[in-house]
């Protein structure tokens, strides 16, 4: 069921212009900003790339994920699906998997920067590997949030806006709370802080767990939201 849903969603997604436009936009913006960072630093570093790419994913993944369930709800196909005894969790997991795979495919050409850096310098390969691992995990969490937002509404723009708001809130969770008592707690929810560790070359098991937990928690809630629709 998961594989069938993922396959169908992948076909639908890649026959729409969305992933192509998103990918082209992502690479053009990231490349301009990253090359300007390289110019400033004159160091063979991949580290500045990851926060730029991470922020772009925060903005663009909600666009990729907005149609997953919202479009099905709008078109009435979700109610049709739920009318038959289909398990909700594989359905939601399949939609998440398709969007995650699409997001990773969008991200993939960015790996080109690694050989370019090697060509012009001697970068440390450790932070390159961990940085991309961090982006893969961040994408998983952002896709989860996108699917959850999409499960709550039948409107794609609303789903995208909700997902964008939540993703931005998590990205900036560590900001503006320096002296407050809740600073430490909020900072733990900061996806940019977690990504910074990966970009620096460190893998914290807690950071891996955080991204997995956000994705899993979002999918559990998304499945519950779809289920509640069945019961209406």
């Amino acid at each position: 069921m998961t594989r069938a849903t993922a396959g169908k969603d992948l076909r639908v997604l890649w026959t729409s212009p969305i992933p192509y436009v998103v990918a082209a936009l992502f690479h053009a913006v990231v490349a301009v900003l990253y090359v300007s960072q390289l110019e400033d630093r004159r160091q063979a570093l991949m580290q500045p790339f990851f926060p730029i790419a991470g922020f772009m994913l925060v903005v663009l993944v909600p666009v990729l994920a907005m149609r997953t369930l919202a479009e099905e709800a709008r078109a009435g196909t979700l109610d049709l699906l739920l009318a038959v005894p289909v398990a909700t969790r594989p359905l939601v997991a399949g939609k998440w998997l398709a969007t995650w795979a699409t997001s990773l495919a969008v991200l993939a050409p960015a790996a080109l920067f690694a050989p370019i850096l090697r060509w012009f310098g001697h970068p440390d390969s450790g932070p390159i590997v961990t940085g991309f691992a961090g982006l893969v995990l961040l994408t998983a969490a952002l896709t989860g949030i996108g699917v959850l937002a999409s499960s709550l509404t039948a409107s794609q723009p609303v789903a995208a806006m909700v997902a964008l708001f939540v993703s931005l809130a998590l990205w900036f969770a560590h900001r503006g709370t320096a002296s407050a008592g809740v600073a430490g707690v909020l900072a733990r929810f900061s996806t940019s802080d977690r990504l910074r560790s990966f970009a620096g070359g460190a893998v914290h098991t807690a950071d891996v767990g955080f991204f997995v937990a956000v994705a899993a928690g979002a999918l559990v809630l998304a499945a519950a939201a779809v289920d509640s629709r069945r019961l209406r």
Partner: protein, 441 residues
């Protein structure tokens, strides 16, 4: 949603949150950087493991400071290594009371380490400063280094190029108390001195020589920095310990063993003798050194480690004005320029241990050169060793290698063409092709 289903969903979310809390508390870190720049050094680890009572580190950093996340991450590494070390990062503007209580400069910030009623301070939140602060807290006895004066020695408060004010500040930061003693007025080393600093005396020591000799014979410790510019003969003082000074100046011919254009500024990259003084020491620079000799036959109980030497392409010139080897007068290299002496003896049934570090150059420790390469570290390690504190070592953080990028204008244009033009263009082309194929069906 049915209550049972709602409960199941709530339980699932709670289980995920609980697992994350467990992971946060038992976090493991894998540092994949080439130089392990995100890991604490083995020296720091050794010091941190000696902390058996709670230590609270307070870093005073403004929210807008660029390195704040990295500095907080550094403190977090100490906490993860030893949970007795806790930390907080506070804004000095937001907490003026704490800034005053811990005597931190509200403008420049800094760091305070508290253990019980004791407080140690440091100007920056770096691994060197945090570990040095912890080491000072751990140290029960604050060693006193007495700097000899009265015979033209380099002064510890002199800020001129050949003064020792920077070295003195560094030693204080590393937990030493410094005290100037005038051996001309009172030719005796006071009881409170854990070590004597004798740096480049330029006038004969007179009665002070006997006083220093008696101090060393009684198990005293000293760092003796001699220099070619001084004509004072210290050999009578050093001879009982199997070392001496070979006057002259070392000329170095090996290109990687001297500063460019200056064959008398030696660069020592490798150290011999396995003495703790040279343990983990980076290259050091000796700007104008004479030789340090060691006796062929040492008395029982004396060990000499000639740890810093010039290359075999060097020579000790007796006449500095002639920069060419004179086989009749000069000595072929390698020439020892620094040595550590350890003498153990039993006097009247009591064990005595004399330690000496002797160098053929004093400039390496002076304000003008102490910032070069590993010179400051040599000063600290020599002082630690003579005062029997070799377990408290100086720390160098695992610093990242500089990785220059040869990004010329032409290359930048090429990269931009490839990544901003070609890659997005190909992606859009793929999209157009898919659209065209679908339309054709």
């Amino acid at each position: 949603m049915r209550p049972r289903r709602f409960l199941l969903v709530a339980l699932a979310v709670a289980a995920i949150a609980f697992l994350q809390v467990v992971l946060e508390r038992n976090d493991r870190t894998y540092d994949l950087t080439a130089e392990h720049t995100l890991s604490l050094t083995s020296e720091t680890t050794a010091v941190v493991r000696q902390v058996h009572h709670p230590v609270r580190v307070t870093a005073f950093l403004r929210p807008e400071e660029a390195g704040r996340p990295e500095e907080a991450a550094l403190l977090d590494r100490y906490h993860r290594l030893n949970r007795r070390i806790t930390y907080r990062v506070i804004d000095p503007d937001a907490a003026p009371g704490e800034t005053r209580r811990l005597d931190i400069d509200p403008v420049f910030g800094g760091m305070a380490l508290e253990q019980g009623t004791r407080v140690e301070r440091a100007p920056t939140v770096t691994e060197q400063d945090v570990t040095a602060g912890l080491a000072r807290l751990l140290r029960r006895h604050v060693p006193t280094l007495c700097a000899a004066t009265g015979h033209g020695e380099a002064a510890i408060d002199a800020t001129v190029n050949d003064g020792l004010s920077t070295a003195a500040a560094l030693l204080r930061e590393n937990g030493f108390r410094l005290r100037a003693i005038d051996l001309l007025v009172e030719p005796a080393v006071p009881d409170g001195c854990d070590g004597l600093l004798l740096v480049r005396p330029t006038a004969p020591l007179g009665p002070a020589q006997q006083a220093v000799g008696a101090y060393l014979a009684g198990g005293g410790r000293a760092v003796v920095l001699t220099d070619p510019v001084s004509s004072v003969d210290l050999n009578p003082l050093l001879a009982p310990y199997g070392v001496g000074i070979d006057r002259g100046i070392v000329f170095e011919s090996a290109p990687d063993a001297h500063l460019r254009g200056d064959p008398t500024s030696l660069v020592v990259r490798q150290y011999q003798g396995g003495t703790p003084v040279a343990r983990g020491l980076p290259p050091t620079v000796f700007p104008g050194a004479q030789g340090v000799t060691s006796a062929e036959h040492l008395e029982r109980g004396i060990a000499v480690a000639a740890f810093a030497q010039s290359s075999s392409a060097s020579y000790l010139s007796r006449r500095a004005e002639r920069a060419e080897f004179d086989p009749n007068n000069d000595v072929r290299g390698p020439i020892t320029v620094a040595a550590a002496v350890d003498r153990s003896a039993t006097v009247a049934g009591k064990a005595q241990r004399t330690r000496l570090v002797v160098t053929g150059d004093a400039d390496f420790a002076a304000n003008g050169s102490i910032g070069d390469a590993g010179n400051s570290r040599l000063v600290i390690q020599a002082s630690e060793w003579v005062t029997l504190q070799e377990d408290l070592v100086t720390v160098d953080a695992n610093l990242p290698t500089v990785r220059p990028l040869a990004l010329t204008d032409a290359r930048r244009r090429y990269v931009l063409f490839l990544t901003v033009g070609v890659v997005p263009g190909l992606i859009l082309l793929a999209g157009v092709m898919v659209w065209a194929v679908r339309r054709g069906r």
